[in-house]
């Protein structure tokens, strides 16, 4: 069964359409890049799947069932800039939030939850920063904390919104090796991604998006100049660079 199936999803902000009749499904155990220009609706697509923005129409299924019944199967890494990092809390506490969906009402995180959260911090190389106030972490470290929080969700399908933006090279490497590890465990990871140069290197599959779905499939078949032209439209100077990238690889 497909981990993620999106059927005819349309999203509009104040009657201005952001996503139009997007349909696709993805296979299990792949790293899937969601690629498209600014304003193409990449983040909105993830948010529509997770129920963070209302869908004007369409349906979303996680392993054949609506998202609301499958929350525990899904992990989420929001954009780093979407929260206030001056909030009075530390790295471990943020990672523990990933356990909240499993803990249930009126209960506190157990010792096991804390141990699991620590092991997630360790996986992203942040164990020694567990008690550090989150505003005192660098951008890359904050991104790793978010990633550890998603790991703490112990999910099978992951949605990540621009995890590579504003991070240092070491963090980018750490993230990509983590993604590959998740893939090796048979998990499915969908990543909103900006940098066209690394697409071929990082992702098995790509979803090209610009308000509508342009194409989806294995990277070598789908990440072509023709499809990129369709996705990025008339941005000519930009396209020259893309041309070089596609030829180069």
């Amino acid at each position: 069964m497909n981990p993620v199936t999106v059927e005819n999803v349309t999203v509009a902000y104040h009657s201005k359409p952001v996503l139009q009749e997007v349909s696709f499904s993805v296979p299990e155990g792949k790293l899937i890049g969601i690629i498209g220009p600014n304003g193409a609706g990449k983040s909105t697509l993830i948010k529509a799947v997770l129920g963070l923005v209302p869908r004007a129409s369409g349906d979303v299924y996680i392993y054949g069932k609506p998202y609301k019944q499958q929350r525990k199967l899904v992990g989420y890494v929001p954009q780093r800039g979407s929260v206030d990092w001056d909030f009075p809390t530390n790295a471990l506490d943020v990672v523990l939030m990933g356990r909240y969906g499993h803990i249930g009402w009126f209960k506190r995180p157990s010792k096991k939850d804390v141990e699991f959260a620590m092991s997630c911090l360790e996986k992203v190389g942040m164990k020694e920063y567990a008690n550090r106030q989150i505003s005192q972490l660098s951008g890359g470290q904050q991104q790793r904390v978010f990633l550890a929080r998603a790991l703490a969700q112990d999910a099978t399908v992951y949605f990540m919104d621009e995890p590579f933006v504003g991070v240092d090279a070491a963090t980018e490497k750490a993230i990509i090796s983590l993604l590959n590890e998740l893939k090796a465990q048979g998990k499915t990871v969908l990543v909103v991604h900006h940098d066209l140069q690394t697409v071929k290197e990082y992702f098995d599959w790509v979803l090209l998006l610009n308000m509508r779905k342009i194409a989806i499939g294995p990277t070598e078949e789908t990440f072509t100049l023709e499809n990129l032209q369709k996705t990025y439209g008339g941005r000519l100077t930009f396209l020259h660079q893309q041309h070089a990238i596609v030829n180069q690889q």
């Binding site: 948010k47 979407s82 909030f87 009075p88 809390t89 803990i103």
Partner: protein, 294 residues
């Protein structure tokens, strides 16, 4: 207990309740909503009086809770259809408050309820308004009301601590996890309304905002942990109330005004001297860096 003791207890209960609730307002960047609700509860109080024909605390609390949540609801509604959130707060708050003022001037003549009292409060009357059951003196009504609201607030925070925390820090993640973020929002607005109206008699609508925001803002400068921030905020609230009372006695001035001034002074001292976030410690840290690089 002595007359003075009751006043200090009342002020301290106001300080604790407002201090705790205020922390969440600051962290959710909704300090202005406190200002709004502290004014619109006037409509709740007048409305409750007109319907129930009594000035009993229970009716006041219900009226204030209803109008407080309505305020939050209207603000949310205007915001969701594209009005800037500060403009939405401004429109809703002045309109509802104005309706309260008009109703008060129409019907308020018959009762002991006037605009000045509602805005400024009068803590000195509180020890005389006694709760009596079967002729037994149980202490001032205001203390009972504030105590009940404080216990209610503490129960809600203990039960929903992690839900309140995540929906304040990362509402998107909270929604994705299935936490009813909107319910938590209205729960907090309900707490805010009850706390405001219970504190109303003692400090009034304008100064309750000082007690809601200043202790939380002070605690924010002193710690990096939410639970500690809540406790420190309550402590600053109590200190402001007690210091305010004695300032008022010494200089023979308004008690509620002195409490707000005391809170402001504590904030100012913290702002300069806080070991982690204070002006002085940051200045020293910069100097040290400059010396090192020089």
């Amino acid at each position: 207990m002595s007359y003075e003791g009751w006043i200090l207890l009342t002020g301290s209960l106001v300080g604790i309740s407002c201090g705790i609730v205020g922390c969440f307002l600051i962290l959710r960047k909704m300090a202005m909503l406190a200002d709004a609700i502290s004014h619109t509860v006037l409509l709740g109080i007048v409305g409750a009086y007109l319907i129930s024909n009594s000035l009993e605390g229970v009716y006041m609390l219900i009226g204030a809770a209803v109008v407080g949540i309505l305020t939050a609801f209207f603000v949310q509604l205007l915001h969701s259809i594209g009005v800037q959130s500060d403009a939405a707060i401004g429109v809703v708050f002045t309109s509802l408050f104005a309706v309260g003022v008009i109703l008060l001037s129409l019907f308020g003549g018959k009762v002991h309820l006037d605009v000045e009292h509602a805005l400024m409060g009068e803590i000195t009357f509180i020890p005389w308004d006694i709760l009596e059951i079967n002729g037994i003196n149980l202490g001032p009504k205001a203390v009972w009301m504030l105590g009940t609201v404080l216990i209610l607030n503490l129960i809600i925070i203990l039960l929903f601590y992690k839900e309140i925390k995540i929906s304040s820090f990362d509402p998107d993640m909270a929604v994705a996890l299935g936490i009813p973020v909107l319910f938590i929002h209205y729960l907090l607005m309900g707490m805010l309304s009850l706390t405001t109206v219970a504190s109303f008699d003692s400090v009034g609508a304008i100064l309750v905002v000082a007690m809601l925001i200043v202790p939380g803002a002070t605690a924010y400068l002193l710690t990096d942990k939410l639970s500690v921030m809540l406790m420190l905020s309550a402590l600053v609230g109590v200190l402001s109330a007690i210091a305010g009372y004695f300032i008022a006695m010494i200089f023979n001035v308004s008690i509620s005004g002195s409490m707000a001034v005391a809170a402001g002074v504590i904030f100012a001292i913290t702002f300069v001297l806080s070991p982690t976030h204070g002006l002085l410690s940051r200045w020293l840290a910069r100097k040290r860096l400059q010396n090192k690089s020089a």
